[in-house]
Subunit: 345 residues, 2 copies
């Protein structure tokens, strides 16, 4: 086995690396024919809960591309099952929640489960991967707001009006819900670290729907607490905070003290990093749709991002959101190679 590549971890700590390390959000997924073959046999929930299959899918992009980190293949909604939420993935729709959370009683019924007992499969998959990988593996959870959006809306939503009405008008129940989710997810991150994850990421994909006042009042305390639970136990494990359309929330995301902030593709990464006084690492931020363009355009856009930060320690190259189904695999391969070659010192 080749020497362990810890460049991703070093970049999370803003230490010098021989080149800019990278991984790609949703690097295992529907754009790969190998993944689609596995999907013919297993559902997303099965892939996430059968450790051997989860590990196999996690390894697919690592074997295909020059990547500096793996990320465990799972789904952010997986812990909701044990907590008492019944759901399925409906084709062409997304997750459909059978028993959405709409009342105080619904929130009270939710179980604060022990991840080691209930989500043992994620731990097992991480343990398998530890023997297979020579790059770190990232563990992850969905953030309380994003998970609550599915639980309350009952599925994907455009405007989140049902959730926001609950948040505004049933504030006590809202905070109880966020506290329960925050506790389970923080413990789940710790369990993933104990099982072999060398970094962790919190996905708050939809939190950008809130203005900063609402974020600070209804969400921030719970995210801060989550990060404290993880950091007080594992201060040296890098923690990444990720949102989309949430540039306006960055001052608050920063305050919660993650090691790395992921920047979406619409936000000026170099300027944002400067505004953060370079006191935190940054991850990003190529537009995932750029991978549908001819290589000359991908190269121009990638160079622009890399040039803007001039190889400063603490930049992890990534997309500004997940790889999309239909993305040409050849472009992904060339992108990974290019980032390494272009930034090698």
């Amino acid at each position: 086995m080749a020497e362990f590549n810890d460049n991703f971890l070093k970049a999370c700590r803003r230490e010098e690396t021989p080149y800019t390390p990278l991984w790609l959000a949703r690097q295992a997924g529907r754009y790969q024919k190998e993944y689609m073959k596995i999907k013919e046999k297993y559902s997303i929930i099965e892939i996430s809960t059968i450790p051997e299959v989860s590990a196999e899918v996690t390894l697919l992009p690592i074997n295909q591309f020059e990547l500096d980190s793996a990320i465990i293949f799972s789904d952010i909604l997986i812990p909701l099952g044990p907590m008492g939420i019944s759901f399925e993935y409906k084709k062409g729709y997304g997750p459909l929640i059978h028993n959405p959370v709409r009342t105080v009683a619904d929130v009270e019924k939710l179980k604060v489960v022990d991840p080691a007992t209930e989500m043992w499969y994620t731990g097992k998959a991480l343990t398998i991967l530890k023997g297979e990988l020579n790059v770190p593996c990232i563990g992850f959870v969905g953030a309380p707001f994003t998970l609550a959006s599915y639980m309350i809306e009952g599925g994907p939503s455009k405007n989140y009006e049902t959730m926001k009405a609950f948040m505004y008008n049933e504030t006590k129940a809202w905070h109880l819900l966020m506290d329960k989710l925050g506790t389970v997810m923080a413990n789940y991150l710790n369990f993933q670290i104990e099982s072999g994850a060398m970094a962790v990421q919190i996905f708050d994909s939809w939190v950008g729907a809130l203005d900063i006042d609402d974020y600070n009042e209804y969400v921030y305390p719970h995210v801060e607490k989550m990060i404290q639970i993880v950091k007080s136990k594992y201060p040296n494990v890098p923690l990444i905070s990720m949102g989309v359309n949430s540039a306006h929330l960055i001052p608050s995301l920063r305050k919660a003290n993650p090691d790395v902030i992921a920047i979406d593709w619409k936000t000026d990464l170099a300027k944002t990093w400067k505004d953060l006084n370079y006191e935190v690492a940054v991850q990003g931020n190529l537009d995932p749709t750029a991978l549908f363009a001819d290589w000359s355009i991908i190269e121009r856009k990638t160079k622009k991002i890399l040039d803007s930060v001039k190889g400063k320690p603490g930049h992890i190259f990534n997309l500004g959101h997940g790889i999309l189904p239909g993305t040409p695999v050849e472009n992904v391969k060339q992108l990974c190679k290019f980032v390494h070659e272009y930034t090698r010192k």
Copy 2:
């Protein structure tokens, strides 16, 4: 008939008004039982193309609430029909395009139509309204990017990857498409002004999906040209530029020289206005989901916006996006009344 209320027009020109004028995006719509009754008889396309019905729907909120402007009821896709695009509204999905634009030939086939001949019904509706209203009526169009997103994707889209691939890889055809759309829409705005619209708004709802480099390269020249076509003919008719999730594009939106920039609810309106040196009027920006909250929360959020700009001339109060179906009518009524009372000098 009461004296004509031109406070909205004055605010667009950054002139003093006795109170902060307001109107609400999608102020006529599915949250009103009167509208739903009309919808039982007519489709959106029929409402938009039968002048008497369009005028009737436009008047609904004017008769119910204290509003300082009407906005013609129509749909941004209406002009696509005459241009050669066939579409229908599918329940629970949105607009479904039967012949999406995917090739250079598809773009070449699109007709650059004369609005006075082809969209005569909008002109007729505006003429009817001129006799009924004692506030101005806003005319509007969809912007080329947002219209192109439907035309190329074939319907609503989450990531716009088909459109962006076309934009990146078929750049010449893309610019031809944008030019055709820009020309028709600019002429359509001029026709609406000639028919009675006293202000106009360009809806670029989805343009926030682009980073600023792509916006400047693929979209800006067409928006600038549109605004020039209108402004060279009607320099004194206020023109409003509106997008969502597009705070990162505001410097470019400003450069195209609209009179008013609409600010979404996630963006700090007062700070944005200051950054713009107060050289343009601003419109916004209450979170539309706040209208689902108890009045005390709506009042607090509304006060915060109004206090932040201290009644400075050039602020038009509005939502940060359209009113949502299900919004309690009573809250809309109270909001309009409150804005006037709270800001009266």
